[in-house]
């Protein structure tokens, strides 16, 4: 086995290399009870309050794309990280690293989008930071947002998934791969004109309705980098249950499938920015789907599989043609700078 003595793009992919980097470098040095849980948001008990705290940096290229821009992503990504933990997102910070010479108009457009998204999500941007670096030392603009939210006591176990049990249904709120393939199609070195857009959206209102519809939600996670395959693998990894996915129940848009076929991507591994995987007790599954369908972001919601007592620690797919195979985490880089 070769030791990587430099950072490779794959270390930022959200897949196996990222996991190794987090374990071997970050956890090793920052280790503490909260961090080591490696949930999307840290859950902190401060006096009588349970707070969720999360941070994310956005380096997407191109910064403007069909369905959104880097600013929309910076709000939605952080809001979603809080919401999937079961928290009500409240406040955000916004830090900007800007390349010298970046057009002011673009920065204004990005911040206007952020304002709109923040209003829609019902959160407030309360602090920020600006740094400008020499031309060529950063690419256009990078944004970091951190967010805090309040976690109701009844949702405390959602982030860890400790209540997941065999028989629970696995639900997604719509089609997979839209964001990743939109970015891919728009990268200037590929001349693909397809009618798709990023699914980038704040999911907190929909998630709030899901949690109002059922108190038997055992796990939620937004499927971003690494796609749903990575989330599904994480759900079962080292657990005494497995899961099975029905491939033909997983919504994939025609255009997304087309680009995936053309470029050799598997949509299960392609990034999303407005998709949440929900695990819920079987009896409440339909309720959750119905709650999702009341929202624009959940119109195509579907039950895609279930938790099983068989093949512990592994995710399986019944393929659309009746075959069977495993699901694994993304290895190596799929697309750098996707979010």
């Amino acid at each position: 086995m070769r030791k990587n003595d430099r950072i490779l793009l794959g270390h930022g992919s959200g897949g196996q290399l990222s996991h190794e980097l987090i374990k071997n470098v970050f956890i090793k040095n920052f280790s503490n009870t909260e961090l080591n849980k490696q949930t999307d948001s840290a859950i902190l008990k401060i006096e009588d309050l349970n707070l969720c705290f999360t941070t994310d940096s956005y380096v997407v290229d191109p910064i403007f794309f069909s369905g959104g821009n880097i600013g929309k992503l910076a709000i939605a990504g952080t809001v979603n990280d809080l919401a999937v933990a079961g928290a009500k997102p409240l406040y955000l910070s916004a830090g900007f690293i800007i390349e010298e010479g970046f057009p002011m108009d673009d920065l204004v457009k990005i911040t206007e989008t952020m304002k709109e998204e923040a209003q829609k999500a019902g959160i407030t941007i309360v602090t920020g930071d600006t740094k400008v670096v020499d031309r060529g030392k950063a690419d256009k603009v990078f944004i970091n947002t951190s967010g805090i939210g309040i976690l109701p006591k009844k949702n405390k176990e959602i982030a860890s998934g400790s209540k997941i049990k065999p028989g629970d249904k696995i639900i997604i709120n719509g089609s997979i791969g839209d964001h990743g393939m939109t970015i891919m199609a728009e990268r200037n070195d590929l001349n693909i004109s397809a009618k798709i857009g990023s699914d980038c959206a704040c999911l907190n209102h929909m998630i709030n309705d899901i949690l109002n519809a059922s108190d038997k939600v055992s796990f939620m996670r937004d499927a971003t980098r690494g796609g749903i395959a990575t989330v599904l693998t994480e759900i079962v990894s080292d657990k005494d249950f497995g899961l099975i996915i029905e491939e033909d129940q997983v919504p994939v848009k025609e255009a997304v499938r087309g680009i995936c076929e053309l470029l050799g991507f598997d949509p299960f591994y392609v990034a999303n920015e407005g998709k949440v995987i929900v695990v819920v007790a079987s009896e409440d599954a339909e309720k959750v789907v119905a709650a999702m369908k009341n929202h624009k972001e959940g119109k195509e919601a579907a039950i895609i599989g279930e938790i099983t007592s068989e093949h512990k620690g592994k995710g399986w797919i019944n393929t659309g043609i009746g075959g069977k195979r495993i699901i694994d985490m993304l290895a190596g880089e799929q697309l750098p700078r996707i979010c």
Partner: protein, 361 residues
């Protein structure tokens, strides 16, 4: 999706699987030569649909996998030249060389760019007239015509800073060598895209000389199962022949224009294949006439001595003698994020396909 969904129709698949079950009596081993087939077979979960009598084994049809580690070492050496840009298919970037990889060189600041077509490499050459663009040419009859087209284009457009480092190979010598080496096979699922270029003539010897059937297959589940069924029928009736299942793409005569381009730019030479050693007339070197575009002729580099990893059984796997799961490095010391052998790197590699889709089956 039109032209794809028809070939992924569940009912057709089930029907074909039933027919195969009915026809298949003898225990047989079929080799899918092409890495694209290996990936499709694992991705769609085809093995679970076949009766126990039929075993599919992966062959030497993954270009990255069969290439010499020296090919990577030499490309790495080119990348370290100060005036060189490497423009490569993405597949090569993570393949480990003896002490480095293109990925590691890129992280260390070398100019290495991923292209989807040789024409993109030409564009880079045009945009960087003070640099030399090296395109590592890898692949079989499928991609060799593209590299040839790149060279012919460069000549026509007067682009003088574009070089190809050819590791291109042709398929038939390897298919024959496998049987000569005593690999126990009952038929070939022959590569669809290679055959699109070559036509059927290149397989004519296989039924004649080796008494084995060849069915040229497409890449969708229905294609693959239909090809298996055609081979099963050939085997059960004792009448091996060359057949085309992938008729919507493959013509018996192949693509004459592409063949012409290949023949004008390349000439056959002995080449080294992982697992098979040196096979005469199996590699495509750039002919004297086009030596101005031949990286091997135009650039002098010192290449480190090639080091092969101990314990990696890529060679045996490429011959179909062993399955990835027989390798003690599989999923332990060797994984897609930290590959030891090329078969774990390439999307078409047997180890990668097994790791991703069939690790615990």
């Amino acid at each position: 999706m039109k032209y794809i969904d028809e070939y992924r129709d569940k009912n057709l698949v089930i029907n074909l699987a039933e027919q195969i079950r009915k026809e298949s009596k003898k225990e047989i081993k079929l080799m899918e030569v092409c890495g694209g087939h290996t990936m499709a077979i694992q991705k769609f979960g085809i093995p679970a649909l076949l009766p126990e009598t039929i075993k599919l084994i992966s062959g030497p049809g993954c270009p990255v996998c069969v290439s010499d580690r020296k090919f990577i070492d030499q490309t790495v050496a080119y990348s370290r030249l100060s005036n060189v840009i490497i423009a490569t298919y993405g597949d090569l970037i993570r393949v480990p060389g003896s002490s480095s990889s293109l990925n590691e060189e890129k992280a260390a600041g070398k100019d290495i760019r991923i292209v989807y077509s040789v024409l993109d490499a030409l564009k880079i050459a045009e945009q960087n007239p003070d640099k030399i663009v090296v395109f590592p040419g890898i692949g079989f009859e499928t991609t060799a015509p593209a590299s040839a087209a790149g060279i012919l284009n460069a000549e026509k457009r007067g682009i003088k800073n574009f070089l190809v480092y050819s590791s291109h190979k042709i398929m038939p010598p390897a298919m024959a060598a496998l049987i000569d080496e005593g690999v126990n096979l009952n038929g070939y699922i022959a590569p669809g895209h290679v055959s699109t270029i070559t036509g059927t003539a290149i397989y004519a010897d296989i039924p004649k000389k080796y008494n084995l059937g060849c069915v040229i297959a497409g890449f969708e589940p229905v294609d693959l199962l239909q090809s298996v069924l055609m081979l099963v029928k050939q085997i059960e009736s004792g009448k091996p022949k060359v057949e085309i299942q992938y008729k919507r793409v493959v013509k018996p005569e192949g693509n004459i224009i592409a063949q012409g381009m290949m023949n004008s730019v390349f000439e056959l030479r002995p080449d080294w294949w992982r697992g098979l050693g040196v096979l005469p007339g199996s590699g495509l070197g750039i002919s004297e006439k086009y030596s101005a575009f031949d990286a091997e002729k135009q650039l002098q580099v010192e290449v480190e001595p090639t080091k092969e990893d101990k314990g990696c059984i890529c060679g045996e796997i490429l011959k179909g003698l062993k399955s990835p799961k027989d390798c003690k490095l599989f999923a332990t010391a060797c994984s897609p994020s930290d590959p030891v052998g090329a078969c774990m790197v390439s999307n078409e590699g047997a180890c990668h396909a097994y790791y991703k889709y069939n690790r615990n089956l």
